[in-house]
Symmetry: C2
Subunit: 332 residues, 2 copies
């Protein structure tokens, strides 16, 4: 910066002003400085900059699973919102590794970002507490915080389950099965509650079976599908609720394409996240849509609210409602 100042025949203070408060500098001087900056290829040092100001113009977003299009949507929404208020969004993918998640939380903490958006897959109370205790703001996405811990943006996951089950019941299915895995993942637990509620509400004419899958990946789905396909016809559920889309697609593949069990005629299937893959699948999947982009936007809003209001901030939870998207795997 001193070099630029020398080259333009001004002081460093003036160079700084050109960069940060152009109005304070006469047009002629500003032009001369800018020319020098260009000629010398000067890049202002963000470290020194934020050392002085004590903060940055960046928001960190830690995502548990960048493979999942819901998380991508959240990132998109957050990016748009952040950009609109002059903040940059930095992404970090933990691939569901809690150690990595802690590392990234600390990294963002140490680099004094404006705030952190966290979309985890496990309880992260410890990590949140740690960086909050340093005065850094965190907003939790798609995972309910321990009450009073921080702001959060959630989907009404109970209603996700309810909508899915209700759709099957309303279209005449009576022997439902709910395929679930990772019951420790909170949104998954919530969905189950909604499913049960819908079934109870429907009365004794509708039964619910719960099927445990080992995991949520495609290959796990194939196992579940194959198992179902081996059942006697009268044992086969006529409505399947599947806790994620990937799992649902795999099951449909096994049932429909491999075993020749007709979807939706014999078994209707509903998924729960309306991921990218849902619409493109062998049998386009009826699924409950999660408003990912809006979640990202809301999260940024909550974060900036908290940053702005300082001490007198009250944590808030925004709960967005899901919506059923009907496709052919479970038509109307």
């Amino acid at each position: 910066m001193q070099d630029v100042a020398d080259a333009a025949g001004v002081s460093v203070g003036t160079v700084s002003n050109v960069l940060n408060h152009p109005a304070k500098v006469s047009p002629a001087t500003a032009e001369r400085v800018r020319e020098a900056i260009g000629r010398l290829g000067f890049v202002r040092n963000d470290a020194a900059r934020s050392l002085v100001s004590g903060s940055t113009k960046s928001i960190g977003m830690v995502l548990a699973d960048i493979e999942n299009s819901l998380f991508i949507d959240m990132a998109h929404g957050a990016q748009d919102a952040a950009r609109a208020i002059g903040q940059n969004l930095l992404l970090a993918n933990t691939a569901c590794d809690m150690r990595l998640q802690d590392d990234y939380l600390d990294l963002f903490d140490e680099s004094r970002v404006t705030g952190v958006l966290l979309a985890p897959m496990e309880d992260s109370t410890a990590g949140i507490a740690r960086i909050r205790s340093h005065g850094r703001q965190v907003v939790l996405l798609n995972y309910a915080p321990r009450p009073g811990t921080c702001c959060s943006v959630l989907v009404n996951n109970e209603h996700v389950g309810y909508l899915a089950a209700r759709h099957l019941i309303d279209t005449g299915r009576t022997r439902l099965a709910y395929v679930v895995a990772h019951d420790d993942y909170q949104p998954v637990r919530d969905r189950r509650r909604g499913v049960r509620a819908a079934v109870e509400e429907a009365g004794p004419g509708v039964t619910l079976e719960e099927i445990d899958s080992v995991g949520l990946t495609t290959s796990h789905g194939h196992v579940v599908g194959a198992e179902l396909a081996r059942r006697a016809p009268e044992e086969l559920p006529d409505g399947l609720l599947v806790v994620t889309d990937e799992l649902a697609n795999a099951i449909i593949h096994e049932l429909h394409t491999v075993a020749g069990i007709r979807v939706p005629d014999q078994v209707a299937v509903v998924g729960c996240e309306n991921n990218r893959a849902a619409g493109a699948a062998a049998v386009p999947l009826t699924a409950v849509d999660m408003p990912g982009r809006m979640m990202g936007q809301e999260a940024i809003r909550l974060l900036m609210d908290e940053v702005a209001s300082g001490k007198q901030h009250r944590h808030a939870t925004v709960v967005l409602e899901p919506e059923l998207i009907v496709r052919s795997s479970a038509p109307n």
Copy 2:
């Protein structure tokens, strides 16, 4: 840090040593300092830190399209490789917006990252030149640089096209059509060359038609598919090469599910990126696989090579070979 020092009854220099060179400090003192750090909730300021050192422990990765699973794979590979050498990987998504891309390049430049990985969708020579002129290293991913500009990791995209076409020809298809869009996107151009080469090699018995799609999204694919479906049977190609998987899936959907044209019996289809969606599609898609993870790893390797070797560095290009994954849309 001063507070910590006071609390532990030592000087700031010692606190710094505890953090950075524990061997230099006596165990007793170190313990006392660590206790104070914990008690006071001290977080070292990364800005001050990198102000002194002039660099950070982070690598920035700028991705043009985080929706595309190839880019996700590259990020994964890069993340693993970066972590293995003690660097953090920070992601930024430009959503194909060149202005955003420039902003992120500048952001990483200003924050003095160790280096930048860039996977663009358009020629980015200007941006690369800009930050390289400041001494910051860039490795280009999946997009060939202007010769001598920087290191890069590429897929042999010509071979992608060749493999796809060759597979169709080898399995007896003779009236090929290549569906393409965004011909200005370099990998897409390369693929076309490979397709043409394979067709020429096959001699006069095989014909090639080129079909221009307006874009690469699902809806564009539906348009192309519907158009094809309207053709007289003898006008219909029997082998379709589609430049991306998303487009391929949409076309198949329109052909197979909507118009009842049998895939692969009447028309075989091959896609070009082997994205996540390829395997899960209505008709599982035969596609040419791009080694995304390995690309990410190689990129980190090249970047660190360049950082290490300094002045005497010579730019290198790593070209990885694609591989055909045969599924049912174009079986053997």
